[in-house]
């Protein structure tokens, strides 16, 4: 029997997280929301929608929340795979489903979402350039031929998940995850996903200036 846990890092997402979880739970009944110290009642919204809520006592950052969610899911002995999912509704459940299917079929141990494998995602030129640069950087640093290094939608099987230990609490965790995967060397594939840029996700999304923070955090570990 396979069991997938959806891991959602959450920070002040009360307005959207409920519907995101409800949508997910039609396909994936096991959803864990790692609340990173929200002060807007996100926890109640997530619980009401049927998710398990793991609550950081203080705000630590998205990377820390992701690692907490992974460790929570690992406590469930029946868990076979983990999907990381964003709370702001920019990912599609259908994409996650297809990615898990590729893991369950044994095709890969890690399936990474990429918005650049098809033309569904509408993306600004500016953002495209930044993301492409990040992908080239991680390709040079790790040798993994990624097209989209900063995609929040990933499916990981149990074995690989147990070997991931994110220490970058804030922005640089996506790069750190790729670095660790390069060391673990799982069988991995990229999967085309659509990123839905709503006004909400745009307002929550990372500013392009954040890439400066990412670089700084990667340099001074």
């Amino acid at each position: 029997m396979s069991r997938t846990w959806i891991v959602i890092p959450m920070y002040n997402e009360a307005t959207v997280v409920g519907s995101v979880i409800e949508d997910l739970r039609k396909t994936f009944p096991h959803v864990v929301c790692v609340d990173d110290g929200s002060r807007d009642g996100s926890q109640a919204a997530a619980r009401a929608a049927g998710a398990m809520v793991v609550q950081h006592p203080i705000n630590l950052g998205q990377g820390a929340a992701l690692q907490t969610g992974i460790e929570y899911a690992l406590q469930d002995p029946a868990m076979t795979s983990i999907v990381t999912f964003d709370a702001d509704g920019q990912h599609r459940v259908e994409d996650a489903q297809a990615m898990v299917a590729r893991i369950e079929s044994g095709e890969a141990e890690v399936v990474l979402g990429s918005r650049f494998l098809d033309d569904r995602t509408q993306i600004s030129l500016q953002k495209r350039i930044v993301l492409k640069t990040a992908a080239v950087q991680s390709r040079m640093a790790t040798g993994m031929n990624l097209t989209d290094a900063h995609n929040g939608l990933r499916a990981i099987n149990r074995d690989v998940a147990s070997r991931i230990h994110l220490t970058q609490n804030r922005m640089a965790h996506a790069s750190e995850l790729v670095n660790q995967l390069a060391t673990i060397r799982p069988r991995w594939v990229e999967h085309p996903v659509e990123i839905i840029y709503t006004d909400y996700s745009k307002s929550k999304g990372q500013s392009l200036l954040n890439s400066v923070n990412i670089l700084a955090e990667l340099f001074f570990r």
């Binding site: 069991r3 864990v32 793991v54 907490t68 609490n169």
Partner: protein, 126 residues
């Protein structure tokens, strides 16, 4: 000559910072920092009584004035201070993260062990 001294100083800053950042917090590095602090304090005190000595030593290094030498030394120690403080900050952050995660996970519900209490519990008992 001046340029050489400047380059040497900059290289020293980078090397010392890197060494102190790499090693984290250990007794050896702490001792090195304390020795450096002592030397700095003694030199500062001596320079008050014998200002010429410092200038002569600076002249020997090709820097010119003793004040400049003090300035360079201050910059070096400032960078070392920044590097070690950053390192300590990172270590503290790691501890806090580990601690918070432990608390969060301990307080979280575990539907796979409990039989009731949660809405989604029925589909968890496959």
């Amino acid at each position: 000559m001046l340029l050489i001294v400047q380059i040497v100083l900059v290289v020293a800053v980078i090397l010392v910072s890197l060494v102190l950042m790499r090693g984290g917090v250990n007794a050896k590095h702490l001792a090195v920092r304390r020795i450096m602090l002592m030397i700095f304090a003694v030199a500062a005190a001596l320079s008050i009584f014998f200002p010429d000595t410092l200038t002569r030593f600076a002249g020997f290094l090709g820097i010119g004035r003793g004040t400049d030498l003090v300035l360079y030394a201050t910059i070096v120690s400032f960078f070392v201070f920044m590097a070690t403080t950053y390192q300590r900050f990172r270590n503290m952050e790691t501890s806090i993260t580990t601690l918070s995660r432990r608390i969060a996970l301990d307080e979280a519900p575990r539907p796979w062990t409990a039989d009731e209490g949660h809405k989604g519990a029925d589909d968890l008992r496959q």
